[in-house]
Amino acid sequence: MNPTTTTDTDARTPTGTGASTGSGPGRGDGRPSALRSLGRAVAMEWTKTASLRTTWWCVGLALAAMAVFAALMGVTKAQEVTDNPDAASGVSYTMLVSQGVFYLVQFAVVTLAALTSTGEFHGRGASSTLLAVPRRGRVLAARSLIAAGFGFAVGAATTALGVGVLRLVIGDLAPVDAGGAVRTVLASGVGMALFAILFTGVGTAVRSTAGTIAIGFLLLLGLPMVMQLSGLQVVNDLSALLPGPAGAEFYAFGDVGFYTAPVDGPVNLATVLGWTAAALIVGAAEFRLRDA
């Protein structure tokens, strides 16, 4: 380090105009378009997310978890089919990988969204971001887009990996339906992208990583399971309105393999969209009103 370095580099403006000393009128004018500003904010969020190791740990863990899950399910199914060849027609790739998404992958996505949306609220790290992008709506929009991108990539990649591993293990006994596999891969991607946005909204509202992950666990798994344990059919059915079961119905195309809801079809996607929109609205309002 050379502490005697002076500011000579500062005399040059980044644009090379040399008008470095003025703070007068004209300087700084030329507001970039809203779209370009959003693009820049997205670039910032991408750089921040991609430059953290934890991001890649989350992605890696999701992939590893799905690989292990698929291998385990594959071996189990292979055993079943060996014991009873008629069971081969009952093997559903979609059901098996969607369970892997439901039990494992979605929590990696929640963790990732929680980390990216709350990480800066510890130790006032949000200051530097908000100085660069003072419009908080823009920051949240950019963050949501990056989270959605990661969510889609993780959802689609893990599902594709799950199908691949299953095919390796039981492909000879139960062939893959290519069209169904592609559909499942895309639906998982969309589902995980929506969850990523949902928990970006939650994280922005609560500003706590642990709190966001806890809420994620409750909404996606804990609460619906408890509701389904209850003897009341009404309560049981209501659990389908939670994002976890509704999401699973959506990305498994109704072939979840366990009871989730009395309804199939687009209503489940609408349910997840509703939760996502609500979380984003609450997050945006909190972000806008509360001091950074």
Partner: protein, 368 residues
């Protein structure tokens, strides 16, 4: 150019910033001085749109920070540490900020060079020393080559070399015509760099003046004399100066008299002529540091709490006046002090002793 107008920020019942009004002009280093908890950081955060004011305005070049079209070109700020994620490298941190504002990648390398962090740019911020983190924060502030720079306690955690570097940097930035606004709780640091001072205490403006003016007003020598008969000596000294100088006598809180305009020789001679016994007689150099402490002492919120210790003259004064503001307004306090001393019994009122400034302040608080 920064402008703060009637700026107020309340957190529940506490008022962190109280109707603050001041300007920060280009081409100078303006110091923002006040004790810890005086509202400096809050004011800066309000100025930068990070917190919302309860009332009043804080403007950068005539606009709110959040309304600036290209904020990075107008203001750069170093805020209290921890602004960079510990898991990110210094370069990635700056690169993210550069991308947010459309600045080229080479600008990141430039500012890394300016602050002397080029060699460690790839290392994660979590392993940085406090001084290195301060440098990184300064690099972020310089990134957009802004016309206005705001530094919140920039020398915190820096070694001597670092402190001198920051001083030089601020000087250079101001000499280039930029607006430089730097906060500190250290008068000695401000003396080194500031052309102008904005002094706050308890969220309020204490004074705003050029440094030279404050040095003129604050640093002067006084003669302290301790005597069992302060009233008699004070009457003798008052109004008479050797060379036509005006002599001011102030009744000290410890029972001593503080005399301005007369040296120890004159005071000693006067005491001799009056037949007054003298227990101590010495010259006291009032430093800027001391003047600053006196100005802001009454405003310190988190002073060590008193335990029913004897209450000094100030507490009694505030009680008499029934006005808590007296403790913030030194000018008014001095006036009243004079008034009190005109009262024949008043002369001994200050002899009850005093354990510490904070205790007096607490006494005032209890009385309110």
């Amino acid at each position: 150019m920064l402008a703060v107008r009637e700026l107020t920020k309340r957190y529940g019942g506490t008022t962190a910033v109280d109707a603050l009004t001041f300007d920060v002009r280009p081409g100078q280093v303006t110091g923002f001085l006040g004790p810890n908890g005086a509202g400096k950081s809050t004011t800066i955060r309000l100025l930068l749109g990070l917190d919302r004011p309860t009332s009043g305005r804080a403007l950068v070049n005539g606009r709110r920070y959040t309304d600036l079209p290209r904020p990075e070109r107008e203001v750069g700020a170093l805020l209290d540490g921890g602004a960079a994620h510990p898991g990110r490298s210094a370069r990635a941190h700056l690169l993210a900020l550069a991308r947010a504002t459309g600045l080229p990648r080479r600008r990141v390398d430039e500012v890394l060079g300016t602050v002397g962090l080029t060699d460690v740019a790839g290392r994660r911020v979590g392993g940085f020393s406090l001084g290195m983190r301060q440098r990184l924060g300064i690099a972020a502030a310089l990134l957009g080559d802004p016309g206005c720079l705001v530094f919140d306690e920039p020398v915190n955690g820096l070694d001597i070399d670092g402190v001198r570097w920051v001083r030089g940097l601020m000087r250079d930035l101001a000499d280039e015509g930029r607006t430089v606004f730097v906060s500190s709780h250290l008068m000695t640091e401000m003396q080194q760099v500031a052309d102008r001072l904005v002094v706050v205490g308890g969220g309020r403006l204490v004074t705003e003046a050029p440094m030279a003016e404050l040095i003129e007003a604050w640093s002067h020598a006084r003669t302290v004399v301790r005597t069992p008969d302060p009233g008699i000596l004070a009457d003798r000294l008052r109004g008479r100066g050797a060379h036509g100088r005006r002599v001011d006598v102030e009744q000290g809180r410890d029972g001593g008299l503080r005399v301005q305009g007369a040296g120890p020789e004159e005071v000693g001679d006067a005491a001799h002529r009056a037949g007054v016994r003298v227990h101590a007689l010495y010259r006291e150099e009032a430093s800027l540091e001391r003047a600053y402490l006196e100005l802001t002492e009454g405003t310190v919120r988190h002073a060590a709490s008193g335990s029913g210790a004897p209450r000094g003259a100030d507490a009694a004064l505030a009680r008499d006046g029934g006005d808590g503001d007296a403790r913030r307004d030194r000018g008014r306090r001095a006036e009243r002090d004079d008034g009190r001393r005109a009262d024949p019994d008043g002369g001994t009122g200050g002899t009850t002793g005093r354990d510490g400034h904070g205790q007096d302040h607490d006494a005032v608080e209890e009385d309110r």
